[in-house]
Amino acid sequence: MISLSQFPRAVRVAFYLLWGFGIIGLAAFTAAAAFGLGNTTSTGWQVLYVSLHLAPAGLCLLRAAVVPRERAIWALFGIGMLLWSVGYAYYFGVIQGLDVPPYPSLSDALWLSYYGCVFAALLLLVRARLKKVRKTLWIDAVVGGLALAALSAAILIEPILARTGGRTAAVVTNMAYPLSDLLILSLLLGVFALSGWRPGRTWAILGGVFTFQAGFDTIYLYQAASGTYESGGLLDTVWPLAMLVIALTAWQQPKTREGDELLGWPALAITATFALVGLFLTTYDHWRQLPDTVQALATLTLVAAFVRTTTTFGDIKKLAHSKVLSERHDAILSAAGEGVYGLDPEGRTTFANPAALKMTGYEAGEVIGHRQHELVHHTKADGTPFPLEECPVWASLADGTVHRSSDDLYWRKDGTSFPVEYTSTPIFEEGEVTGAVVVFRDITERREIERAKDEFTSIVSHELRTPLTSIRGSLGLLESGVLGPLPEKGQRMIEIAVENTDRLVRLINDILDIERIDSGEVDMHRTRCDVSKLVESAVTELRPLATQTEVTLGAEAEPMAVFADPDRVHQTLVNLISNAVKFSEPGGAVRVSASSEDGEVLFRVRDGGRGIPPEKLETIFERFQQVDASDSREKGGTGLGLAICRTIVERHGGRIWAESELGKGSSFLFSLPTRARSRSEAADDPASAEGPAILVCDDDPAVVEVVSTLLGSQGYRTFAAHSGEEALERALAERPDAILLDLLMPGMSGWETAAALKERPETSEIPIVILSVFPAEGTEPLSAPVVDWIEKPLDEAALFRALDRAVNPRSAPFKVLIVEDDLDLAAVLAATFERQGIETFTTTSGIEAIELSQQVIPDLLVLDVGLPEADGFEVVDWLRRHERLSAMPLVVYTARDLDEADRARLQLGETTEFLTKGRITPEYLEHRVMRLLGRLTQETTAEVSDEQAHLVDR
């Protein structure tokens, strides 16, 4: 209720006066009509009756005058009510007195104008109160109303028409009243639906009022048509009552959005029921004349139409809502920078966002309905057609999972292509794939950046290598003495210069390395290294520099083992120590230490230099970061050293950090794991301290204990088994990473155990290393491949090598290079190896061998020394100087007898074997090669005969 206190006194007085008059007047009239207290058709009562309508009219107009909000609405109501009362005045005053009252008359026009005003006012009210009414809803309201009208006309209006004789004007007038009511009711129904069937107070009251009024209008029409209407009766109270209620609504507090009150429903229900019952009773006579079926049908149709009209409003509201959502989604997709396609289960485009169209140069119309694969994804990068079945997008439609591609090609309409990465996500409805969404991105720029980076690195390294070539060349010539002798110290200086130039070259290679290590392309060649040796060699390397700068260099490291790539650790240590030396004052000291802590080895390089400010302790490990920009000039640093150290240490699963006190000095520390780690463990959790699990099986408990202790000291976990049966049990239970198996055991022998292990799927994949008093050759082979065969008494190094191989299996095939000028023999050897799944390369000359070795990096070399031009020796010389290949297993397979000097010259590392042609078979050669490669199988072991075993040159 609008608060009246805000208005001037005059308004309040008028308000109360009008209400008073209205209520009292109506009460009086009602009483008179109900109880027959006076003739309500007399002029006095008629005047009262007419003026009775002025009260609500005045109230509405007053409200419109004093409350600016919704002014027009209530003014319309007021005016309409005024017209209604004027109509009555005219009717009573003029029409009634006529002999033949015209029908329709001016009064009818005035009364119908009331309805018109009401309809207009209601429309305005809807617009004011319900902000989101769609235009189509008006049509629906009208249609609904008309439908109701049409149906009800057939049943309710027909008798009225019959009685008026069919004159057009009369017919229209007769139709107009109920139609107006129906239209108003339809509008109100629509509003109810739009407000989610929770109309606020105003709508509820208005709904009740007009239903009420509609009902009684119909009753009135019937009575008028059948001549049973009595002026001044109770029926006449309906209209002023209705108007007073409307006036009441006028003085409700106006709201922009109606609230949650549920008043409407009960009021509406009661009123409607009342009106309908009244209607029915009045028209009952007519109803009874209709055939039963028609009655039933008519009722049902009416009810159905009623229900449908109301539900339509609900549907429309949902549609409107989903349209809003859809527009919002469109807005989001349109704004997205990535291309988005929607596909149906056949791969046809159902949707493409503006970014997708822009990137591919198509219009929406050209794309919708067509197969996306055929339009933009039809050809591979190499120009061959891209079959639909291979397309990941198709796969996601087929198997209902997300598929991605990080490097693919899309084709534009104009025939050009661009690199893309995309993700295809299937859409499900009730468990079925109903389409997919493909989101893609143009990665041209990213590719450019990657390429530019590669090119830059390549160019830079070239630029560095060029001057180094001259330096290295001239120094090398000087060193060699080919240009004449040098004084002793001069010679020594040149040697140092050459060494350091070589180191510089390696550094450049390492810079390239860091790029590749960082991106994961290069593997660390981890193996068991002696910490004290690593520290010693690094210190030795830097001693000249330290001496030169008058810095004392001290080292203390226990002989511990660490599992790492020795070259890289050396590189790290050298880096750190050289930094320390460079940043120390003359007379200062650098201390290098290594200690065991918590399953890791902690390396520490301490200097007494100027220190590092705390904010730089982290950033110095980044690339091209120096503590001070002037350092690069003075100290000759590149800014990459620490970054490389970090990359290396982190790839090992360790940590590196710096501690420092300004002015006092700095400590650089890094940790490396001591234990061997199986690949899966390293991948899962670099911080875990568990090594691979080895099952040691031997019936001699002393052996088991010794071996277990030995393995344990290197970080392996061990399980013991003293018999074949126990080994089997434990293998099944523990699933070790490898099994060390003795052969000669009571009960289940090693052979039987191996066979049993291979039979079970849970243990068949566990690699086996034989640990036996028997040598591999000449002993009955096992039924399954073993990784290696270690003879007792065992060689520690061999054991660890074998275990390392067992625990870290390689997936790529072995590569063997055969250098043999006898083509037939070469072919035979090649065939033998290829049977084992080894990639074989053959060459007939030493030079080719050198070249091929550089390209292929073989895992083993079979070398016939008796090559023309005696370059077998040269090959080995060259190999020895090659960083990676100098430790390659070498099998010297020659017809010649070799003397000591020859052998010394041909010895390449620890794993060089000498076999004499003509005395051994190719199969035996295969056996030895396989053994060196670490893959002994049944065939290779079996084909070895005792006789040949004795002919092994050692």
Partner: protein, 126 residues
């Protein structure tokens, strides 16, 4: 009679050092050129037994020079060895596909260079 080798490299110092290496250590007779153009001229005129060709040169680079040498029947048969600081795998593969007799990397060991050259040429001759 000592064999003749033509060095083509835009870097003066490298030509000098490589030249001494090939001469003093390898016993070659050395000519040199500081550009691809000049190198082709000298090759046509002197008909060396081998050409040592730098890859990165301004104006006309090694591979282009090699292509020209191959085009001309007067120089087609002369074995060419590329000398390059670019030692990346992708680069090496590209060079190998060119059809040169061999590829050597910079920096080189001046004591080993003549042997490497000889080895490549020997393999090429077969």
């Amino acid at each position: 009679m000592s064999k003749r080798i033509l060095l083509i490299d835009d870097e003066n110092d490298i030509r000098e050092v490589a030249g001494i290496s090939l001469e003093s250590v390898g016993g070659w007779q050395v000519s040199s050129a500081n550009s691809g153009h000049l190198g082709i001229e000298i090759a046509l005129a002197e008909q060396p037994d081998a050409i040592l060709l730098d890859v990165m040169m301004p104006d006309m680079d090694g591979p282009t020079t090699f292509a020209r040498l191959q085009d001309d029947p007067g120089t087609r048969e002369i074995p060419v060895i590329l000398l390059t600081a670019k030692a990346q795998g992708a680069d090496r593969k590209r060079f190998a596909e060119l059809g040169v007799a061999g590829v050597l990397t910079k920096p080189f060991d001046p004591m080993a260079l003549p042997g490497q050259v000889a080895a490549i040429l020997a393999a090429h001759d077969r």
